[in-house]
C-alpha cells in the first residue's frame, strides 16, 4: 500500500519536475491544464486512484470494530430496535413471530427441565390442575394460549420460508399474507382448542 502511494507520488513528482525543467512558456502550461481538465474521463479515473486508496485501507474487521465502538461511545440503541418505529402490521407480525418463538422455547424447556426435577409424574400434576376446577371457558382459553403461539409461529414460519425462496416481498403481498396468516392462526386455534 505504502509502496504504491509512493509510486504515484514519485510519478507526479517526475511529472512536475519535467514540467519545470522544460517550461519556459507559460502558455504551454495553460494548454496542458486545459487539456487535462477537459478530459473528464481522465479526471474521473484519477479521482479514485488518488482518494479511495486512503479511505479503503481499512479491513472489514477494523471497520466493524469501529462501528461497534461508535455505537458504544454514542450509547446508540440496539438493533433491531423495538420502540423507535411506529407500529406497522409487518413489523408487529415480525416481532410476534420472535415473541411466540421465544415463548414456546421457554415453554418446552420449562416442561423438560421441570419434569426431570419434580418428584411426581405428569398425571399427578394434571390432576392438581384439574382439582383447581377451572370453568370450561377458562380451560378453553388456556388451550388457546397454548395452541395459538404454535399455530401462528408455524404459519408465519411458512411465510418466512417463502421469503427464503425469494417470493412474497412486494408490499401488497406482504400485507396480504400477513393478514391471512394472522386470521388463519385464530381459526386453527379455535378449531384445535374445541377438540
Amino acid at each position: 500500500m505504502a509502496a504504491e502511494k509512493y509510486d504515484i507520488n514519485c510519478e507526479l513528482d517526475n511529472f512536475l519536475q519535467e514540467l519545470l525543467r522544460n517550461f519556459d512558456e507559460i502558455t504551454a502550461m495553460a494548454l496542458l491544464l486545459r487539456g487535462v481538465c477537459r478530459n473528464h474521463q481522465l479526471l474521473a479515473r484519477m479521482q479514485p486512484m488518488m482518494t479511495s486508496r486512503v479511505t479503503m485501507s481499512m479491513t472489514a474487521k477494523q471497520e466493524q470494530d469501529k462501528f461497534w465502538d461508535t455505537n458504544k461511545r454514542l450509547n446508540r440503541p440496539m438493533s433491531p430496535h423495538l420502540t423507535i418505529y411506529s407500529p406497522q402490521v409487518t413489523s408487529m407480525l415480525s416481532i410476534t413471530h420472535r415473541g411466540t418463538g421465544v415463548g414456546l422455547t421457554v415453554g418446552i424447556y420449562a416442561l423438560g427441565l421441570s419434569m426431570s426435577v419434580l418428584p411426581h409424574d405428569f398425571a399427578h400434576y394434571l390432576e392438581m390442575i384439574k382439582a383447581l376446577s377451572f370453568g370450561p371457558s377458562l380451560l378453553f382459553l388456556t388451550k388457546m394460549a397454548i395452541v395459538w403461539p404454535v399455530a401462528f409461529h408455524s404459519l408465519n414460519g411458512v411465510r418466512h420460508l417463502a421469503w427464503d425462496t425469494g417470493y412474497g416481498y412486494d408490499i401488497k403481498t406482504l400485507y396480504k399474507t400477513g393478514y391471512f396468516v394472522l386470521g388463519l392462526s385464530f381459526v386453527i386455534t379455535a378449531g384445535i382448542a374445541m377438540l
Partner: protein
C-alpha cells in the same frame, strides 16, 4: 517545446493510464492491494457449521417440523416423540442463538449467553428424553390435557 510535452508519457501522469486494463477497471487489474480490503461481512462464527450450511440446516429443520408436529400427534409413536423433542429443542436453540446475536453485545456477554444457552438446551433435551422414557411422553401429555 509544446510538442515535446505532448509526446511525453508524463503528460498522462502514468503509463498505466493508457493500458486498456486500467480503462476497463481501475480496481481489478492494476491494484491487487485493493483485493485485501474488500468489504466482506465479518466472520463471527468460531466453530461448528459454515454459516451457509447452518442456514440451510435451519431451513431443513423448519420444514421438517411442519411434518413432524402433526405426524407425532396423528401417529402417536415413541420414536416420533423423541424426534419431536430433538427437533423442537434444536429449533428453539438456533432461534435463541439468533435472538442473542441481535440483543446480546460484547464479546464476554455473548460468550456467557451462548454457553448458558447451550447448557440449558442440553439439559432441556435430556429432560424431555427423560419425560418420553419415564413418563407419558410429549404428545400423550398434550392429549391428556385436551381430554381433561
Amino acid at each position: 517545446m509544446a510538442m515535446n510535452i505532448l509526446r511525453s508519457r508524463a503528460l498522462l501522469t502514468s503509463p498505466r493510464l493508457m493500458t486498456s486494463a486500467f480503462l476497463k477497471s481501475p480496481y481489478q487489474a492494476n491494484y491487487p492491494a485493493m483485493l485485501n480490503t474488500l468489504h466482506t461481512t465479518h466472520n463471527n462464527h468460531t466453530a461448528g457449521l459454515l454459516p451457509s450450511k447452518h442456514w440451510n440446516a435451519e431451513r431443513v429443520l423448519s420444514i421438517g417440523l411442519i411434518g413432524i408436529i402433526p405426524a407425532a400427534f396423528l401417529i402417536q409413536n415413541p420414536a416420533l416423540d423423541y424426534a419431536l423433542a430433538a427437533s423442537l429443542v434444536l429449533h428453539g436453540h438456533w432461534g435463541m442463538e439468533q435472538v442473542f446475536l441481535d440483543y446480546v453485545h460484547g464479546e464476554t456477554m455473548s460468550k456467557v449467553a451462548n454457553a448458558s444457552l447451550f447448557a440449558i438446551s442440553a439439559l432441556s433435551f435430556a429432560g424431555l428424553c427423560y419425560f418420553n422414557y419415564n413418563d407419558v411422553g410429549l404428545t400423550k401429555a398434550v392429549m391428556m390435557l385436551w381430554s381433561s
